[in-house]
Symmetry: none
Amino acid sequence: MGAADIEVPVFQRIKDYLLAQIQAGHWKEGDAIPSEQELARQFGVSRMTVNRAVRELTADQILTRVQGSGTYVAQHKYQSTLVAIKSIAEEVRGRGHRHRSELHLLERAKASEIMAAPFGVKPGYALFHSVIVHFENEVPIQVEDRWVNPAVAPDYMEQDFSSMTPNEYLMAAAPLQGVQYSIEALPAPRDIAAMLQMQPKDACLVLKRRTLSQGQAATVVTMWHPGSRYQFAGSF
Amino acid sequence: MGAADIEVPVFQRIKDYLLAQIQAGHWKEGDAIPSEQELARQFGVSRMTVNRAVRELTADQILTRVQGSGTYVAQHKYQSTLVAIKSIAEEVRGRGHRHRSELHLLERAKASEIMAAPFGVKPGYALFHSVIVHFENEVPIQVEDRWVNPAVAPDYMEQDFSSMTPNEYLMAAAPLQGVQYSIEALPAPRDIAAMLQMQPKDACLVLKRRTLSQGQAATVVTMWHPGSRYQFAGSF
DNA sequence: TAGTGGTCTAGACCACAGC
DNA sequence: CTGTGGTCTAGACCACTAT
């Protein structure tokens, strides 16, 4: 399959290049990266284009800039994982309980307008889509509705999700750069309610998460939990 | 040229202008804002400068753009950072909105069996108890049901909670040693529903928090939020 | 002083939406 | 078709850092 003529903007290619260098360890924390002039020359583009790439990575805390001095790889900041990236299987087993999952759907689908936005692609762009129900001691505790960017995990469809959760697979397949999440309380839609063995409109605890990898959205997942028998907890 | 003049970059002045228009209510959610051409003409600058201002606000989810169509004010979601030791008043004001609170109850009460446990005291022990409703732009977004240990904050009852939230007072009065929290989705009880102007049994996002100070439980608080118009969010 | 980043210009071509 | 945003150029002047 020939690479589709996806037009990747130059500034994005420069961002990808810089991220790749950092990811590969060629540039370590605190190291200076090439100047705008130098990058402009390397890529054969104008300085403004390089400037945009570097400025955006600076806004993302990947780089830091010092006027008159140079651009440096930022110190990696460790942050407490309130709502961990941890796999639910691991969590259930950690409680000494049995974890099991049921695959309800696994498909190639086109991005709707709603899904196109978080991925930063156009509607119609091909995405992978899976729906899995997780059980703790045979009680359903989570519906995992996941969309995956094929550019980041091209062989997502070939995985055996009974032996490895999508989360575990993706963590291994794509280096994680960032996470955005939100937690909401929503009434259960009919289909979700059925899978979780609860009444429609009963309260669900919903965790939405968008993870970034290689400078683009890797996966967007919505996790539905029955409000009556699930909670997030932690301490610090 | 006054050397003392503060140099504010043009793109920043344009961002400030756009934010001011939105905050002042001149442009509401979903409204189209002037085109880049138009703004460039208004400010007497080049389109690239306007482009940067608008692009950065789009990255911040303040605006949304549609190629070929225009730029629009994004739908606003009330959300809160999960590392929510922060005062809700501060957070609301940080969004440029008005915060107001109503004190529904302020009493000395004896610990029930349920409340005695988290405080590590015996039932009947005297505790302070307050119930406050918080509003963002006159929309109720939180019922704060708080129990306070008099040993840690003896003058809790004498505070004016219209000028300072309990959280702000306690943060100042008692050094924080630790926090435990849980997040749940629960149906709204009648009284909570009334205060939040929602229907009983509709989904609430509930944050329970227990803070430790001076080696003992300082405060136990249950915060109820309407599921339909509130969420916790964050990134790392 | 030489090199860096910070900002800005006045054009340009393109893809796309809406009429 | 016109008008919109998306991108890019090849310069420019400035403030700042390091030598």
